[in-house]
């Protein structure tokens, strides 16, 4: 190890590029990240549409595999819709940080003088906007073909909208942990699916309660509580996981 000595004259000189104080601008950064990811996703429409097509396809498979009997389908419809939506949301998770990791912009995200927690939250928000929300809006249409009893359609959409937000947050932890791995896709589902179970229980439970005519507010409140908890805790885990993955 050696480092040659250097005259110290240059050290005294005034910086033409002055040192800057960090002056906020968090909202600017978050908004730009939101816009950037939205633009990127909307330019690759296929990636936005894939989970939706997958959702519709899986729902089509069940009546074929089980029975076309509307009465039977009506009983299992809430669970089927929720499981299929959950899998569809999972499908698109792997790409959440993947392209940023590959092209080096993830390092830049980590080195921005803004909290990584907020920036990664912006990325997750885009994932939900373009996956969870469309799935929730599409679910009632698929409910019709599964003979979902009337009166539960709004609850289905609402529970999915609330639930998929938690799913995106929890799933992003898994995506961040596996982004540095060559074949992280299968591992991602192994990591994330067990953590999805509470959301699934209360999401499908809400729709079932609506069908039975019970109150749904308790279910939706718990889904909201799960979302609040994920919102508080998951971003920290995502940020920590991204830092680990970038060390690879």
């Amino acid at each position: 190890m050696h480092s040659s000595s250097q005259s110290s004259e240059t050290n005294q000189q005034v910086l033409a590029v002055p040192l800057r104080e960090h002056k906020g601008g968090l909202m600017t950064a978050v908004k730009a990240t939101l816009m950037r990811d939205l633009t990127l996703m909307l330019r690759r429409r296929g990636e936005v549409l894939n989970p939706l097509v997958f959702f519709a396809l899986v729902i089509t498979l069940f009546p074929i595999a089980i029975s076309p009997d509307p009465e039977l389908l009506a009983v299992i419809a809430p669970g089927l819709l929720w499981v299929a939506a959950l899998l569809a949301a999972l499908l698109s998770l792997d790409s959440l940080f993947r392209s940023d990791y590959d092209d080096g912009s993830l390092e830049q995200l980590l080195l921005a003088p803004q909290p990584l927690v907020a920036l990664s939250l912006a990325k997750v928000a885009v994932h939900w906007l373009l996956t969870g929300l469309p799935l929730a809006l599409m679910a009632p249409i698929l409910g019709i073909i599964l003979a979902l009893p009337a009166g539960s359609y709004a609850v289905l959409a609402l529970s999915l909208a609330l639930g998929t937000a938690s799913l995106s947050l929890i799933g992003a932890i898994g995506a961040a942990l596996t982004v540095g791995l060559a074949r992280g896709g299968v591992l991602l589902s192994l990591l994330v699916l067990p953590l999805y179970i509470p959301v699934l229980i209360f999401g499908a439970g809400a729709v079932q309660a609506a069908i039975l005519g019970d109150g749904v507010s308790a279910h939706l409140a718990i889904l909201g509580a799960l979302l609040a908890a994920s919102l508080m805790l998951a971003p920290w885990a995502i940020a920590a996981s991204l830092r680990i993955s970038i060390n690879g």
Binding site: G180, P198, I201, G205, A240, S245
Partner: protein, 250 residues
Amino acid sequence: MWAFIHKLGSPKWFYGISAKLQPWFWAAAALLIVTGSLWGLAFAPADYQQGNSFRIIYVHVPAAFLAQSIFIAMAVSGLVFMVWKIKVADMAAAVMAPLGAAMTFVALFSGAVWGVPTWGTWWMWDARLTSMLILLFLYLGVIALRGAFTSRDSASRAASVLAMVGVINIPIIKYSVDWWYTLHQPASFTLTSRPAMPTEMWLPLVIMVLGFYSFFIALTLMRTRSEILRREANKRWVQDLVNGQVEEAR
């Protein structure tokens, strides 16, 4: 306090102290498990409802306890590793995971076998069994994630984060599964929830639980020692230690 933590952090120190502690825990484990087994199998009275199949409780419950405790221990070790960068904590977490998965499997298997005389079926979506099954998947996830990284440092950190995320989720999963189970109520009673047990029934259970915990500690100490040797093979103190043993053998 700080000095103590850093002392604990030194693999060399841990290797020495664990050698002294280990025999005691093995002895305690053997004594407690043998006593508990004999008592539970031969001396505890049969259950008035379930008859002798009730004796499965003496392996099912300790295994289930351990399965949950090991996950918590793993997450705590992960936290210690992440916060204080104590490598021994990560080594312990690494060797705990397979034992935890094994205990979860034991709890699941004994529960399923117990289900045959009790419910007349091998599997019931009982709240406790369902939570155990999910716990098994959580364990498999941590083990798989650790194995997936080529860099061990990254593997350790990733596994620590996942263990911590898992441990936050375990109570949520447990409560939601309990809630889900009571909503659907497919069975009239659960395996292990029962009115107050007579002393001669629960005392052997306590002994078994303590025995299993001693076993867990003893095995973790032993395997952490191996893990230390594996990871520190190039360190001076390990080489001196081995050299000493080689010379002794001459």
